[in-house]
């Protein structure tokens, strides 16, 4: 399950959403929603992984690059079969949404740290970086597999767990000072 090893870094991406906490209408309800949605998400993923293992077996599943994709390939209904295109469609659409959210939060953070009044002038220039990065990130699937197996976790946890945690601890100390 080489690809699944990178899961931790996927999960910790949720930290990005804390960027939007100040914009919420009722921020006091946010922690519960975060907890509830992660639990639900975990259950959903657990179910799908259970399904895959039940269908393909643990050995086979662990060798697969995208087990969910292979899983959808095996679907056969009377009018439609091999609905993996469906799955990819949903993946692309949701990934699009994810890119939007992360991109927006990144720009917001950038504007914060530069003390800008408005984030909008940053949208276009930073999108250029985004395009270049997206094209040069992984050369091929082997590269992706390698990255996911060995680097995704330390890389992801540095930025998604380490730095936020550091900031949190700093904030705790600063509050004590006050």
């Amino acid at each position: 399950m080489s690809i699944e090893k990178g899961r931790i870094s996927f999960y910790s991406q949720g930290i990005v959403l804390t960027m939007f906490l100040p914009y919420l209408h009722r921020p006091e309800g946010a922690p519960w929603i975060v907890v509830a949605s992660s639990v639900l998400l975990g259950i959903a993923i657990l179910l799908s992984i259970l399904g895959m293992i039940a269908f393909f077996g643990a050995e086979e599943t662990s060798r697969m690059m995208f087990p969910a994709f292979e899983f959808a390939k095996a679907v056969r209904l009377s009018v439609v079969e091999r609905i993996e295109a469906f799955v990819v469609g949903i993946w692309v659409a949701t990934t699009g949404l994810k890119v939007m959210v992360i991109y927006y939060s990144g720009i917001l953070a950038f504007a914060y740290s530069l003390n800008l009044q408005d984030y909008r002038p940053l949208v276009l220039p930073i999108s250029l970086f985004l395009v270049v990065l997206s094209a040069s990130m992984f050369a091929d699937t082997t590269h992706l597999r390698e990255f996911m197996a060995h680097y995704a976790n330390p890389y992801g946890s540095t930025f998604q767990v380490g730095i936020p945690l550091l900031l949190y601890i700093l904030a705790l100390f600063r509050r004590k000072d006050r």
Partner: protein
């Protein structure tokens, strides 16, 4: 003597000056409108006539009121806007046949105006004008002007009466069950139709006049003490902001007061049915009636409401709502889905079906996306032609269309049979959407989806879906989120979105409308079988409320 040298004027300047001079001659004299009346009847009448120019439908009637030296009276009215029978009944008859007693005769020369106002005119509605502009406005809406010698005021008597279509069944929203009355072109009739349904003094019709030339009466309708005053104020301020030549239909108004114009969706609901307006008012919405059109506007509107028909509440077919939602999805996505499947994801179609589809498409000279586009356009042509044609011809177009797209096109091998099924299914589904403007919006979006599906396959379709959702979530109608109550989720109000639950479950008005009185009815009115062994006291239920 030399003339002082001056800069020669440019030709364009000369032309402009000439034009302005000519325009001045034909400009209406607005200054005289603000003048008060003088005591001299001749001057008043002359000025009044000059305001109207030489229009043919301004009628004049002069007569003398008996007395020691006869008081001159002049009547003016617009022919066609007034009921002539009413004029002779309430104005002429009393003037000509009333026998003045000695006391009145003695008073007459000095107090003719007062006498006429208090004891001669037998109309219920008499107004006084002190300026020409006031009088002109009244005469133009069907009053008769009564100029009296020696008075600085002019009477305007309401004798409105014109050809009215009468209350008929609304054609654009026909029901199996439900009231058959529809609005007409006359504002007064329409307000009465609403008033007859909501019999409370709190129902208010706030009239605003819009349009420099048309002077259209626009009525903002709401229930005082129920509707959120902020919404009423917002609606009124948006209408007051309008400065334009004319409002001929509520569609003009719609464009001016919408929150966002860069969207195909309707942000203002419109209806021909007084019962629908009444239902909206009782929910805490604001209705806008426009004189001269049977279409009333209702604001604010949310997305779920475009799939609601007033008949849902009359006829208990609760399962129709989910069917409409399915129809919405089919109307929006079926062609693009089909195109994506046949162009990019053939592996998703089972072999047997794929083979028969391929056989059907064998002779088709164009890609599936183009084929679908062609058929959709043809359908839209036919539909539009069917609407614009006179009715008997419209039916012929329908038959022609059925033969052309259904039969001949397939036989000629221009389109595949499955495409005909797809397009006709889509067309039928788009007719299931009760709101006409919304179904037009869905039809328009279908082309975009088709393009995405034809270029990017299912990925494109899902992308379009995503974008559509984002767009819908960003819309507001008078401050109410368009996807409410789904997107700011209010679970108790979902009872009226995907299904319609019985009336006794919907105890509260939509929460986001922030009505002053949230409760619609007493809770717990679910009908139950009578309990055995215990007789209910008659007053019990009311105590609960």
């Amino acid at each position: 003597m030399f003339r002082k040298p001056c800069k020669p004027s440019k030709l364009s300047d000369l032309k402009e000056r000439k034009l302005r001079k000519r325009m001045e001659k034909v400009q209406p004299q607005t200054a005289v409108l603000e003048e008060p009346f003088s005591a001299d009847i001749e001057t008043n009448v002359r000025k009044f006539q000059r305001i109207f120019g030489n229009t043919g439908d301004l009628s004049r009637r002069d007569f003398l009121l008996e007395g020691e030296q006869g008081v001159e009276v002049v009547l003016f009215y617009i022919d066609g806007l007034v009921d002539k029978g009413a004029i002779s009944e309430v104005v002429l008859k009393p003037f000509l046949f009333h026998n003045l007693d000695e006391e009145e005769k003695r008073l007459l020369p000095g107090n003719a105006y007062q006498l006429i106002k208090t004891s001669l005119i037998t109309s219920a509605e008499v107004k006084e004008a002190e300026k020409f502009s006031e009088l002109v406005d009244l005469v133009l809406v069907g009053h008769v002007a009564v100029f009296v010698e020696g008075s600085e005021k002019v009477l305007a008597v309401d004798v409105k009466g014109w050809k009215d279509r009468g209350v008929e069944e609304p054609e654009s929203e026909a029901f199996i069950r439900g009231p058959r009355e529809g609005f007409t072109e006359t504002l007064r009739t329409n307000t009465a139709l609403i008033r007859r349904r909501i019999k409370t003094p709190n129902l208010e019709f706030n009239t605003i006049t819009v349009g420099e030339y048309t002077k259209t009466d626009v009525c903002v309708v709401y229930i005082r003490g129920l509707t959120n005053p902020d919404i009423v104020r917002e609606v009124e301020s948006r209408i007051r902001r309008i400065k334009t030549d004319g409002i001929l239909e509520s569609g003009y108004l719609e464009d001016f007061i919408e929150d966002d114009y860069k969207t195909p969706f309707v942000l203002v609901d419109r209806t021909e049915r007084p019962d629908k307006v009444a239902a909206g008012l009782l929910e805490g919405k604001v209705a806008i009636l426009v004189d001269g059109t049977p279409f009333a506007l209702i604001v604010p509107v949310v997305f779920g409401e475009i799939l609601q028909s007033a008949e849902d509440y009359y006829e208990g077919n609760d399962y129709i709502r989910p069917i409409r939602w399915i129809a919405l999805l089919v109307a929006l996505f079926l062609p693009s889905f089909y195109v994506a499947l046949t162009t990019f994801h053939q592996e998703m179609i089972p072999p047997g079906l794929a083979l028969s589809m391929a056989a059907g498409r064998e002779g088709v000279p164009v890609p599936a996306a183009v084929e679908a586009f062609m058929m959709e356009i043809t359908f839209d042509f036919l539909r539009e032609a069917g609407i614009r044609m006179p009715r008997p011809v419209g039916q012929a177009i329908g038959i022609l269309g059925a033969v052309v797209i259904g039969q001949a096109a397939v036989a000629a091998g221009v389109v595949s049979p499955i495409m005909v099924i797809v397009v006709s299914l889509t067309a039928i589904c788009s007719f299931l959407i009760p709101n006409y403007s919304a179904s037009v919006a869905i039809r328009f979006l279908r082309y975009i989806m088709l393009l995405l599906g034809g270029v990017l396959g299912l990925v494109g379709v899902f992308w379009g879906m995503m974008m559509l959702l984002l767009h819908l979530a960003s819309l507001r109608s008078f401050g109410i989120p368009y996807l409410y109550p789904v997107a700011p989720m209010v679970s108790r109000e979902l009872r009226d979105i995907f299904v319609r639950t019985p009336w006794w479950t919907m105890d509260e008005r939509p929460r986001l409308l922030r009505t002053s009185d949230q409760r619609r009815q007493a809770p717990g009115q679910r009908p139950r079988p009578p309990q055995s062994g215990r007789r209910r006291k008659s007053g019990e239920d009311q105590d609960e409320y």
